[in-house]
Symmetry: C2
Subunit: 152 residues, 2 copies
DNA sequence: TCACATTTAATTGTTCGCAATTGAATAAGC
DNA sequence: GCTTATTCAATTGCGAACAATTAAATGTGA
């Protein structure tokens, strides 16, 4: 019965990359919170707005593929954005199964107010841009490998 | 009015490390799901069990500090673990404000059944151990810098 | 045309995650 | 002893996140 060295024990919390990622995601969320409160957005709502600022008038499905989220998450979230007058939901006339999401004037305008958010996050990261880009690319590559396993 | 190159635009979704972390956390969760279903645990419940397998008979507060979660999250989660007969919640006699969490025999036994989980995750990551350790350390360092900003 | 599969959103129910509040227990100072 | 502040857990309410189901629209093949 070998006594495992805790620094190598794969069952130890601090040795798990998934917990590192999980807890880092929460840390990001907490840093974003006060910034996004001023915009009246939650972090997932902010992600949806980022997608729409790149291109709007898109079906819910497209937003979900971009963010890896399903309609069970997006439908109520989008209804809240609609209630906040940031987006408009319209059923497509070409394919009535689709609901198209378009920005309102307010939704477009919010992009300017949100312009300072990324640099605030960068400052909080206390890290060079190039280091962050490298890490981001590594994490994305890991995420894509994980997602590949899920679809078998 | 300069047209920003999208590969440099900080407001672009794919340029944001936080989205990389956020989406990687979800990807991990999806990989864990089938593995943890067999143990009857969710991922946050699994994290709590990891903490308790290292040391149990600890107050809720300690678990929260380890996982960066508060009692609003942990109280109902621990009640579900208690309902599953994996932990016992007892109010401390020394300080009656504290609730001590101890593993049951079933809770201890589950550690063996969970032993194969980390290696399944490693396989899904499709990545060398040393690469993962390096990434983990970088992500933890980033997380800790973010958490440092939150407390001002 | 008709039957059947596929696509797409919406809905329902369970679990996290956190802010804000409540309430109880403890500690500190007078 | 009394007041006050602090600590800690529980509670409440809201917003994700996802599985599973439902329902409608579309496409396909016989």
């Amino acid at each position: 019965m070998p006594r495992k060295l805790s620094t190598l024990d794969p069952q130890r919390l601090d040795n798990q990359i998934c917990f590192a990622v999980y807890s880092a995601a929460h840390a990001f969320n907490r840093v974003y919170k006060p910034l996004l409160d001023r915009l009246g957005l939650t972090y997932p709502q902010y992600l949806v707005m980022l997608v729409l600022w790149e291109r709007d008038d898109v079906p819910v499905k497209d937003i979900g593929e971009r963010l890896f989220l399903d309609s069970g998450t997006l439908t109520p979230l989008l209804k809240r954005l609609e209630a906040a007058h940031l987006v408009k939901r319209t059923r497509s006339s070409e394919d009535e199964r689709q609901v198209l999401i378009a920005l309102t004037a307010q939704g477009h305008a919010l992009k300017e107010k949100a312009r300072s958010v990324p640099q605030s996050i960068l400052a909080a990261s206390d890290c060079s841009v190039s280091e962050l880009v490298t890490m981001k690319d590594e994490i994305v590559a890991l995420r894509d490998r994980l997602n590949a396993v899920i679809g078998e």
